[in-house]
Structures are given as structure tokens and as C-alpha cells.
Assembly symmetry: none
Homo-oligomer: 194 residues x 4
């Protein structure tokens, strides 16, 4: 279902399609984007598009994969570099900032959630897996933030959920989300039981 290499520049076409599709999905939503439009922006014919993706669902599937990979990569980065930031507040702040403020990915994220709810495909299962995965990664990252080992799982859960919630608000344009204060607050209060 995902990329199969070939001798010619098929890969390049696949890239072209995925890039075009991502962009259009973000701009207009998944349902509102026609395959013809995707082919058009990718600079290929609809026939060619169908050569690579026999179904719109398949294409959405690949887009989802990519999207997940990017989120995961971002989290990995964060886990790896977490110790470089001095204070716990700063460490948390970084996640909040980078994830919440990427509006484009935020929009895509929600369009894909809708696909997960709507389409029968495996998208939903992938989401379930990924959320578990991200939770685990967050937990790892938190190990470096002086949070008592026993609390890490809960804190990771809260942060993961809050992230999604703030992404929603950001994407909707809800005003006044004091991300930094929130990160600081969480850092301070989760450090140890009062």
C-alpha cells in the first residue's frame, strides 16, 4: 500500500501526489478535495493518479502514515533533546509550542480523525496504535523532568490529551491560549506531590 520503488521516476510521482494531496487536504478538507484536483496540482493525469493509488482511501491511508511519521519524529526529537533545555517548564513548553502551533498539521490531524470515524478502513486502528505509542514516548520524555516515576503515565496522558485540545482551539482560532503559562504550571505542579 505504501511506496514501492521502481526503476523510473515513479517515486517522484508518488511524492508529487502526496505533497499535492496533503496541501489540498489541509486547504479544503479531505472530503472537499477531488482526486482530479489532486492530479491537477501534482501535474499528472487522473489516470496516472489511479495507477499509484487505486482508491482515494489508499491515498488517504498513505497521507495518514506520513502525518503520523512526522508527529512521531517531532516527539522523538523532543525526547532526545529534552535534557538540553534547562528547566522542566522549558522542556514542556517546547512540546506545546511546536505541536500546537503547527496549524497546518493540526487541520490535517482533524480531517484525518474524521476519516477514521467515517471510513471503514484501518485508519482508525492506526490512530489507536499511534496514540498509545505517543503516550509511551511522552512518558519517556518526562523521565527527564523530575516527575515521580509513578505519576509519569498519568501526566503523559494528561499532556497528550491537552495537546489535542489545544490544537483544536488553536485551529479554531480560539483566542488567548497561554501555552507558556500552562507549561510552567504543569511543570511546577507535577514535579512532586504537595
Amino acid at each position: 500500500m505504501a511506496a514501492k520503488r521502481s526503476a523510473t521516476h515513479g517515486i517522484s510521482n508518488r511524492e508529487q501526489i502526496l505533497t499535492a494531496a496533503s496541501a489540498l487536504f489541509i486547504e479544503q478538507g479531505v472530503e472537499q478535495t477531488s482526486l482530479r484536483a489532486i492530479a491537477g496540482r501534482a501535474g499528472i493525469s487522473t489516470g496516472t493518479l489511479f495507477y499509484y493509488y487505486a482508491t482515494k482511501s489508499e491515498l488517504i491511508f498513505d497521507i495518514t502514515d506520513r502525518h503520523f511519521d512526522r508527529i512521531t519524529a517531532r516527539l522523538l526529537d523532543w525526547v532526545g533533546q529534552a535534557h538540553q533545555s534547562q528547566t522542566p517548564a522549558e522542556i514542556l513548553g517546547v512540546v506545546f509550542q511546536t505541536i500546537v502551533q503547527d496549524d497546518l498539521r493540526g487541520r490535517l490531524h482533524h480531517y484525518l480523525i474524521e476519516q477514521a470515524l467515517t471510513s471503514n478502513g484501518g485508519v482508525r486502528e492506526r490512530f489507536q496504535q499511534k496514540y498509545q505509542e505517543w503516550r509511551a514516548m511522552l512518558q519517556q520524555g518526562l523521565a527527564q523532568v523530575e516527575i515521580p516515576a509513578g505519576d509519569r503515565e498519568l501526566v503523559a496522558q494528561i499532556i497528550l490529551a491537552a495537546l489535542d485540545g489545544f490544537v483544536i482551539q488553536s485551529v479554531l482560532g480560539v483566542a488567548d491560549i497561554p501555552l507558556n503559562s500552562i507549561a510552567a504550571y504543569l511543570a511546577a505542579h507535577c514535579k512532586e506531590v504537595s
Copy 2:
């Protein structure tokens, strides 16, 4: 834009439409639900549907209104009855349980968010207003939970975001969301600065 009552049983028809539309939106998503299907389930003709709602957007708008009213009502309930539960943990737990576990409303919520992102209409503005409103209500409710006045705003923000996040996970079927432990943890750690 919202319901105009009439002498005859026009109300009944409007109700019928809204009920049918809500149900179908929840089952299949907003985009996937055709007006014909709504009319069919409501037991009226497409022409009659048009008589009440000249546009799919208008109908969505009314559905959104209703949805918001229910959420608000639920929060009002909670604010009013918060003192009846004994412990802060219990008080928080109630919100989490009642809101997160109403999967149907959760689905609708996210379909409507997609509408807000996609359609240019006023739906998005309504969302912005409502989120501000709900945040304020949460703050009020928290006044009864021994949280230092200065922190209430941030805590309300966190809880509101986390609620949305958990709704997403619940709707997606992500396993193992220990809502009660989370409520307890939040109640314990937000009570006062360590």
C-alpha cells in the same frame, strides 16, 4: 436563522428534522449525510426539508446551536451541583465521565469542528465564543474545589483542553483512559502549590 415556531405542527416537523439530522450526522458524519437521507428519516419530502432549511448550512447551523446548548446545559448542571459531591476528585471525575463518555455527542462535536474549519459560515465564530464561555463556566465550577483563585484560569484551560483530547481518544476507541485516576491526580496536584 434558528427555529421560528408556527401555529400548526410546524414545530413537530422542525424537531423531526433536527432529530433525524443529528442521528445521521452522528452515524455517518456531516458530509456523508445527504439531505435526501435526512428527509427520508424525518418522514418528509426533500421539498419540505427545503421549506424549513433552504440550505444544508442552515441546518448544520441549527444542529450546532443545539449541540452547544446541550454542552452548556451539562456544564451548568455541574457547576450548580458541584458542592454535592464530597471530594474534589469526585467533583472533577463527574465532568470527565459525563462529557468524555458521551460518544455520540463526541462524534458530533468533531464533525461540527470540521464544518467550522471547512465552511466559511459563522459556525467557526460560534465555536470561538462557546469555548470562551465554557472556560469561564469551568472556572466558576472550580471555585468550589479549593483551587487557589490565581490558578483557576489556567486549570480551567487545562481541563477544557484535556476534555477535548480525551473525547477524541474515546471516540477513536483508544484503549485504557483512566479517567478517574486522572481526575484524582488533577484534584490532588492543583489544590495548592507544592
Copy 3:
């Protein structure tokens, strides 16, 4: 088909309908104007509209009648007052100006022509009658303009046709129609054979 008086203020309603319909026909064209819209602007219900006009065709018929009456009245005026203007050029100029420059009536005229071509009704026959009638009236008016009696019929034909032609151009917004020069030219050249 036309106005039947009644004891109550039925007449007033009829007037209301005709006024609203004329206005909307001119603004949007006959086809584009729904009966619901007419009823709305007339301040009555669709049911009432149908009480007065059982069919859209009937309404169009009455509007056409009114329109014809106004054109005829204008021509009658002109015939009656033709001698008051001094020069033949001025006399002709008056018809051209008053008829061509009434854009609203011009639009309506062409929308009604389309009805005549399209609908099966008697509208077309009415047009045929009226054009003959108007031609005769023009001929009468020309009697006062020193045109040799033998030529009057042809000149009336030419003027009548040219009028319609200039109305088209005026309504379409074609630039530079020197109506006065044209009237002067016609007056000068038709007076007598060179």
C-alpha cells in the same frame, strides 16, 4: 384574466402583486423570479398570490398587458403633443429619448419577448397586434412632421425597428449611441426625396 374588482381591497392586492412582479422581473428576469419571491415582496402569502393568479403565465400575461399599455400611452402622448415641439428633428428626438432611455422598461420588454417566443400562451399574438398598433400610431405622429404621405408607412417601420434596436443596445450598455444626431439625420433625410 385581467383585474376583476371586488368589494374588499382585492384591487390593492392585485396592484401589489403586479408592482412586485414588475420590479422583480426587471431586476432578475422573468425566469429567474420565483412566485414565492413575488409574494414575499408584495407582502402576501404564496397562497394569496395563487388566489389572484392561478398560474405564473396568467401573471405574466397581466404584466405584459400593463407594459403594453404604458408604451401605448407614451406614444399617444407623443402623437398628441408632437406639434408642440418646433422642429421635426426635435419631435423625433423626443420619441427616441423617452423610449430608448427607459432602461427598466427596455429590460422588461425583452424579457417579455422571450416569454412570447418560449411560452405557448397568447403573449406572442399580443405582441403582433401591438407592433401593428404602434406602427400605425407612429405613422399618425409622422403626419405632423412634413413627411410625404406615401413614405410615412415605411418611415414608421424604420423608426419602430430602430427604436427596438437602440433599446437593445442601450440595455446592453453599448457605448456611444448618438440618439440626437440620429433623430436629426432621420428628420432631415426623410422630409422629402432628394
Copy 4:
């Protein structure tokens, strides 16, 4: 916006569509002709029609273009061959006869005028351009009819307008339009100032 040729028999399809559309527009009027009917007569599916013309407006636009081209071609013919006819009266007579008596094109002409008035599209602007163009062509043609140079513009205006007027009457079926006498009269009286 206009025809783009393709390697296969796409041309044939486009032609098919334009032919079917023209015929139906003439028979029933533009508004009364459904795209389905056009597709039906063209022997293609509605989807295919959409493939060539994404919008009814686009199709109308192309039809308009074609219609204009034919009128222009006819006038060009006339300008080129004007000297072959002997008398000025005959020369004028040719235009009147050929243009006025083509009832089909006359009907189409008026349906398209309605489109120009109704739809906001570029149709109206095209009409304005074309009328200026035709006026200039008529002027050129008149150069060969012994009309004093100074009068040619006015005469062209009058003839152009009268043409439209007679087309209307012809299409409406108004009786007794002595086109030849009129041409003769115009030829005689415009030749030189009395």
C-alpha cells in the same frame, strides 16, 4: 474558455455538444433547455458534458462566441461582395434579407441577449464589443454605396439598430415587413443630403 482541441475525437464531441445545444436553445430558449437534454441529444452522458463544460455558463459562452462569429462572417461576406450587386438598394437589400430572415439565429440572438442581461458573466461585454465591431463593418460596407463619408457612421447606426428591430419583429411573427421597400427607401434617401 473556448474550445481546446485534443488528439482523439474530442473535437467531434465538442462539436456534437455545441450543435445539440444550439438547436435546443433555438427551439426552447436557453433557460428552458436542461443540460441533460443537451447531453441526450448530443448522444453523451451528463458526466461527459460536464467534462467539456463544467458549467452551463461556459457552454453558453461558447455558443455565444460561435453565434457572433457567424454574424461577423456574414457581414464580412457582405462587405466583400457589396460591389457585385448593382444598385445601392440591392446591396442594402441583401443585408436585410440575409440577416432578418434567418429566424433561427434571430431567436438565438435574443436568448443570448437575455443571458447577457441576466448572468453577470462576460457575455454582456462580448455583446458590447461585437456591436461596436459590427457597426464599423457596416460603415465599411457603406463606403461602396455612395453615401457621403460624413453620414456613414450615423447610417450604419441606424441600419444596425433597424436590423435588430426587424429581427425581433420577424421572430415574433409580426406581419408585413416590406424589407425590400425599406432597403430601397434607405438607399434612396441616404445617398445625399436633399
